[in-house]
Symmetry: C2
Subunit: 354 residues, 2 copies
């Protein structure tokens, strides 16, 4: 690979890669790679700071954050992600808009830039599948989806790759999202019953639940009292901002709560509600010490998924590898790299005067 | 402007804009815009956090940083910049590699992505010119350049637009950089005498000096004792990392030291060496209270330039405006934005199975 070329994967390029590889194979690749990455994660070789960003209220509230990760002697991956809950209604845009960049840490060169909208949805789904693999009951067949927006499709897709899901229970305050769900997930060709329910029934009948709502800061939790199967596993996706929570404290206190990134989850996730000693080890620990955690599939568990830059790195690398293999993507000389590295004006042909 | 399109300005696009606008006009635009931005800067409307990043030692030491800025209700600009001093010698790449991105803060959409190598050199030069305008003697004609790499060309260019420079004194430990300097700056068509000198002579004869070296962490300052003209103004560019300094403490203590960004300069700039009460107000304050600082042109002054995201925003906006006006740049549908904003798989045509 030339060290002065940036591979740009547009939305169309990313879709083409998915089509060539097929949706299921791509999700399987991603779940496999992510599991391997968690198994081999070494915090002395891979540095993941807590994300930071700008957030604002007013007529168009939202936030723009950057999520960096540094893999020693290899690459820096930086995802910039915007969360703007009024996007679908005001601008016909997804709530989450995002791009992911990868830099060669030997030189600082931008190696690749890729859509982060589909990739975030994919990797967030894959992360829930991996967490469910280590915490949900292996025979889980009923999946509850609280929040039926964009993320719910990839949650369902990823989890359906590992579990024999045959019944899906939906809840969303936005009935349009509920009504369009079956059509949106038809591409997955799943043989499943899909039913709209109230949260109470959804909670009591599901084996696995994914919560991915746009509930406002300070308005959570989504429900208070509940009954559930003893082995229920919940992937809590939506809580990813200070003050934004989805699950009731009693449920969290009755569960084994496993965050993706403990320090971040305490700031932005469901773990905001908990004391330190009420929070379990993170997903990497559970996976790396799997033998000690076999009982999790029989008890109430919550994966507090705030979003991990490691997941972005894995999905970015997967798409860049596929792009290279398939010859897809635009090659752009983005940085001003001249024959004379000491002359920023080298290659400029005009006079100084007009 | 459509809200799903990203304008990408490649190195070639950026050069074309410079050629169409001409180098001098572009630098004049930039100096003017930057001055206006400093004059109108309001910290309650524009938020600039201290940059952060990853840095590493070893065979290929370096750092990759991100510099964010948020202008309320308008845009978030993020520059990612790598500093890898072995790049020119090991990889035939510039020491500084960089790209700049602009996001619509209403939606999170990536509006534009532009080369940050030429743009960083241009805006760093322009910042020195603005600082010199408010601190150097108006008749300054002798410019000293300590460090003759890529940044020295744009330092000279910017300063030559505001001052009647007719003599340039050069110092660099790398004689190749010294020897190639005249050829590199020939595009500027300046009528100047260019001489190589030792630092001592350069210090004593210059009216304005720019220091832009790659001196290693812990190896500074570049010199100890000195004599100089009483009105000497120094633009200290190179000190931008903890432990990296260029100027001796005695000189700083004898000077009015004006940082671009005080908190950052205390961490990474020449101000690392100073106590709080030895550091002057920042450049925005000097410009906004210009009447109180007229005497600066007659005394020893240092602009501690660590690099300000506001400068990146100004140069980014200038190039995006010119690109739109001239019809230059690639329009890419980068983010996966579908007709159905709730369906990340919308528009994917293939089956799920291979």
């Amino acid at each position: 690979m030339r060290n002065d070329i940036t591979i740009v994967l547009s939305a169309a390029d990313v879709k083409l890669i998915v089509e060539k590889r097929t949706l299921n194979q791509l999700m399987d690749d991603l779940i496999f790679q992510l599991t391997e990455e968690f198994k081999n994660f070494n915090p002395s070789k891979t540095i993941i700071p807590i994300r930071s960003g700008f957030n604002y209220s007013g007529d168009l509230p939202g936030l723009i954050e950057w999520m960096p990760i540094y893999e020693t002697n290899k690459e820096v991956v930086l995802k910039v992600v915007g969360y703007h809950p009024k996007n679908p209604f005001k601008f016909n845009l997804p709530t989450i808009l995002s791009t992911i960049s990868s830099y060669d840490s030997k030189t600082g060169h931008l190696k690749g830039l890729v859509d982060g909208v589909l990739l975030t949805a994919l990797r967030t789904g894959a992360a829930s599948a991996v967490a469910s693999k280590y915490m949900a009951h292996v025979d889980s067949s009923v999946l509850g989806l609280i929040g039926c927006g964009a993320q719910s499709i990839t949650q369902l897709h990823a989890i359906s790759r590992l579990f024999p899901i045959n019944r899906i229970l939906l809840f969303d305050n936005d009935l349009e999202a509920v009504n369009s769900f079956e059509k949106r997930c038809s591409i997955l060709e799943l043989e499943v019953d899909i039913e709209f329910t109230e949260i109470e029934a959804l909670m009591s009948q599901s084996d696995i639940i994914c919560t991915a709502t746009s509930i406002d800061v300070g308005k959570g939790p989504l429900f208070e009292s509940y009954s559930c199967k003893p082995h229920l596993h919940i992937n809590a996706i939506g809580s990813d901002f200070p003050g934004k929570i989805e699950l009731p404290l009693t449920l969290l206190r009755n569960s084994f709560v496993c965050p993706d990134f403990k320090e971040q989850a305490k700031k932005e996730g469901e773990c905001q509600q908990l004391n330190d000693d009420e929070i379990g080890p993170d997903l990497v620990h559970v996976i790396q010490n799997n033998a000690d955690y076999k009982q999790l599939s029989n008890i109430l568990t919550v994966f507090d998924s705030t979003g991990l830059a490691l997941e972005d790195k894995v999905v970015m690398d997967l798409f860049l590898d596929q792009a290279e293999y398939l010859g897809i993507g635009k090659k752009i000389g983005l940085e001003n790299i001249n024959e004379d590295v000491f002359n920023p004006y080298s290659g400029i042909r005009s006079k100084v005067f007009s």
